[in-house]
């Protein structure tokens, strides 16, 4: 029996050592990436609020995430008495596990994808991230305080209802690709020469809103911020356990952002990838990196302490090296095969960070929805809109095939579809207003169905 297992593992290793390695790499680097995303968020928030944000730890607060991580590791880990130990331990693990597993399905660059060619790509990602709900519900239940249970139920109700809307939005985009495999989706966008966001803008919009709600962020971050629920399901967790939830939330954000990029914004394709005369765009990444490096050098002497100046110079050096790495495949012919991998990776990360920037931007500017408004938006507005949008895109596709339009030609057909969808949206909205006016808002509405 023993050698059977040994042989099986050897066989397993021979077959899958590359994705295993990538998996380990991702799981190791991710906390760091998430830490720096949090830093960027705090800096952005500060900048928008006419203040500076974390400046103390390292130059411009660059070492802040490491300090946070250390603090969280050392912090005392309190388990509320007569809480259910097993579930209390399991819940955050489940949450993080689901988020990281979903990350496996995604393709950063044409070469870099952990689960190489599973042909249910997008479905795999969406399905696995749906497991995250258990982490939240069980977490709320395990800390057995009434408030966190209520918070957990509310956030999972929100997740469940917005998943349908997100699912339908993805369906209308998948109509164009015809396959679920991530790599072929991006190829389809490359072949068509146009990103699907132009073909199905309404779908992109519904997916955007639904993904914000799905990751419990910005106007929909009700469970944590609700004044009497304090921190929702996360209240009782402290120290590292809490940071697991935090990690799960930000990884979910990355997962959602990369699904949107792959499906709508053309994955790792350079904007106007197939347009030959726009090739100078290849130099944009290097110029960007060089710009950042130069800024760091300019700022370096201004740093108060010696070690911070060195640190800034190191960051500048890193940026220049990256710039160089991005430049080499474009110029040197021999490095042509690497071109797709490196530049693809850059553009993918660039689009994902734009998407996440938009998340953060929303968080700082607009106030929070009330829970019943949130559910009403989900059920009465988003889901019907996305279903109707799927029908309209289907009809548009048939018309497109009939006139056998290709690429940009498809726009002729899909834009009217989008316009009709918007008209329908407006119809739903003022139907909503009349219903409210009639009801003068005092009727008790069932909160979980919204």
């Amino acid at each position: 029996m023993m050698n059977a297992i040994l042989q099986a593992t050897l066989e397993f290793l021979k077959l899958y050592w590359v994705p295993l390695l990538c998996g380990v790499a991702i799981v190791a680097i991710l906390p760091l990436i998430v830490g720096y995303i949090v830093l960027v968020e705090r800096k952005l928030m500060a900048d928008m609020q006419a203040r500076l944000g974390p400046m103390r730890v390292g130059p411009h607060g660059l070492l802040q995430p490491i300090a946070d991580a250390l603090k969280l590791l050392i912090k005392e880990d309190i388990i509320p008495d007569n809480a259910d130990r097993l579930v209390f331990w399991l819940a955050p693990v489940l949450s993080v596990g689901a988020a990281l597993l979903a990350l496996a399905g995604l393709a950063i660059g044409p070469a870099f994808q952990i689960a190489q060619d599973i042909n249910i790509g997008i479905l795999f990602v969406v399905g696995i991230s749906a497991l995250g709900i258990f982490g939240i519900v069980l977490g709320g239940w395990a800390s057995n305080s009434h408030y966190s249970l209520m918070g957990a139920l509310r956030s999972s109700a929100q997740l469940v209802s917005y998943e349908t809307a997100a699912g339908m939005a993805l369906v209308s985009a998948l109509l164009f690709t015809g396959t679920l495999n991530i790599k072929s989706i991006v190829e389809a966008q490359n072949k068509e020469g146009i990103w699907f966001v132009m073909l199905a803008p309404v779908a992109f919009f519904t997916y955007l809103v639904a993904s914000i709600a799905e990751t419990n962020r910005a106007p929909f971050d009700l469970p944590e911020a609700e004044s009497e629920l304090v921190a929702g399901y996360m209240t009782e967790f402290s120290g590292f356990r809490w940071s697991l939830y935090f990690l799960a939330e930000y990884t979910n954000m990355i997962v959602v952002a990369s699904v949107a990029t792959t499906l709508f914004l053309g994955g790792w394709l350079r904007p106007f990838a197939s347009v030959p005369w726009l090739n100078f765009l290849d130099f944009v990444p290097t110029l960007l990196m060089a710009g950042v490096g130069a800024y760091c050098i300019v700022r370096a002497p201004k740093q108060p302490t010696r070690v911070q100046q060195l640190f800034m110079l190191a960051v500048a050096g890193l940026c220049f090296v990256l710039g160089l790495v991005l430049l080499v495949p474009v110029l040197v012919l021999v490095a042509k095969p690497f071109y797709a991998g490196i530049h693809g990776g850059f553009w993918f990360i660039f689009k994902v960070s734009l998407y996440i920037y938009f998340f953060m931007w929303l968080r700082f500017t607009i106030p929070r929805y009330r829970f019943d408004q949130l559910m009403r938006l989900g059920w009465h507005f988003l889901i019907p809109l996305s279903i109707i949008n799927v029908l309209l895109v289907g009809v548009a596709l048939i018309a497109g095939a009939y006139f056998n339009l290709k690429g940009w030609g498809l726009l002729l057909v899909t834009t009217p579809a989008a316009v009709i969808a918007l008209v329908v949206a407006l119809l739903i909205l003022n139907a909503e207003k009349e219903r409210n006016a009639r009801q003068n808002q005092t009727a008790a509405s069932d909160f979980y169905a919204g």
Partner: protein, 172 residues
Amino acid sequence: MLDKVLFYFFAAIAVASAALMVTRRNVVHSAIFLITALLATAGIFLQLRAEFLFIVQIILYVGGIMVLFVFVIMLVNLDVALQQIQFARQKWVALLVALALAAQVGFMFWTSGKMAGQGLPVLTAVAANRLPANSETVAHSLFESYLLPFEIASVLLLVAMIGAVVMAKKRT
């Protein structure tokens, strides 16, 4: 070789969690073990290269139905459920049915041993690349050869949903 090990691994988990699920006193624990059982069956689908079924199993059962289960468990206040005696009085009837079932399964294994082929028929899955992409095959069969049953089933589901909503409406 790898498939065999994987299969046994998932099967063991499925059986163990099913057994645990039934014996747990705490409702939430049994729900968790039910989820692990479902995930294990999904694993077996994957091991048989049916990834569409794998993901549908996860989305449908674990992501959909189990969430509902856990919701209901949370909303119904738990301590009442705990007090009720877990095992109803018809213990003997249950034992009888279990024995009958075990006998039948045993008979099935025994006869299959007799047939051509060797012992426990463990399907060795075909390598992934030679299989047609199974989401397409599922789609083809579902929407082409069995379109009518598909439509009837959806209508049936629709009616069930509307029924549920109507019943819920009356109560609030």
